[in-house]
Symmetry: C2
Subunit: 147 residues, 2 copies
């Protein structure tokens, strides 16, 4: 079995972010990987679904649990193009996910703003993979919005 790299999976998340961009949504995408396989793909749909809770990570968590038939994502990894917000960090805590990989940081609303442990103590966090690609997409989105 071919083992995919973190870059491969983050690029899959970035494809989701690009789909959000095409739909006029803030371009954030996520995939959840279990045993080297993408089991959930989602992008931000807050406008389309008229729902502030419809962040890419939330939709991916629900979708992955549905695929697995299990509430807890203990053997899963999240790849997301932007640092999760407090809501998504709280949801990831409940999911007990093994790893969180995010591309770009979000100094304004990222969960790291809060200085207490939001994620589960068992969850390992990695950041920066394809961060500049994700940032460029977000920047382009907000520049278009201001035009």
């Amino acid at each position: 079995m071919e083992l995919y790299s973190h870059e491969y999976f983050m690029n899959e998340a970035l494809k989701q972010a690009k789909a959000a961009f095409e739909d006029g949504e803030i371009p954030v995408g996520a995939v959840i990987v279990c045993r080297n396989k993408v089991i959930a793909r989602a992008y931000n749909q807050t406008e389309t679904l008229n729902d502030v809770t419809a962040h890419a990570e939330m939709l991916a968590i629900t979708s992955a649990a549905n695929y697995l038939g299990a509430k807890y994502l203990v053997d899963c990894k999240l790849y997301v193009t932007l640092e999760p917000c407090v809501m998504c960090g709280g949801a990831l805590y409940w999911s007990q996910i093994s790893e969180v990989h995010y591309a770009a940081s979000d100094p304004r609303r990222g969960y790291l703003q809060s200085n207490t442990g939001i994620l589960h103590p068992k969850t390992k966090v990695y950041s920066g993979t394809m961060g500049s690609e994700s940032e460029a997409l977000l920047l382009q989105f907000f520049q278009n919005l201001r035009k």
Copy 2:
């Protein structure tokens, strides 16, 4: 028009918590009120929906936005039987809800554990209404679980 009290609305939330209890779910219930009218009712369904994100507050936020046809709940009040967790606190931030009323405190996983502002600065918070009724229901649930 008759104006209902906070106790009236919290009791409506408590009815939802009791429905959760009957379904074998951790008994937490919520209602969202807009202009003196309940526009959304929900209870915790994490077991039934096999989804860690299916807290009463999350389902109520989605339902209220659907009812209003508007993403932001600026003129709405949440009544919930337990202090919201970090995930729900983060969702309430995005919703820009006017008021949050919770019955019982959750010193273990309540959003107040985090010492940075999780809720929106415009959101007013009230606590304690029917707190002992909510606590008694939760206690009974966990005592039954241990039997």
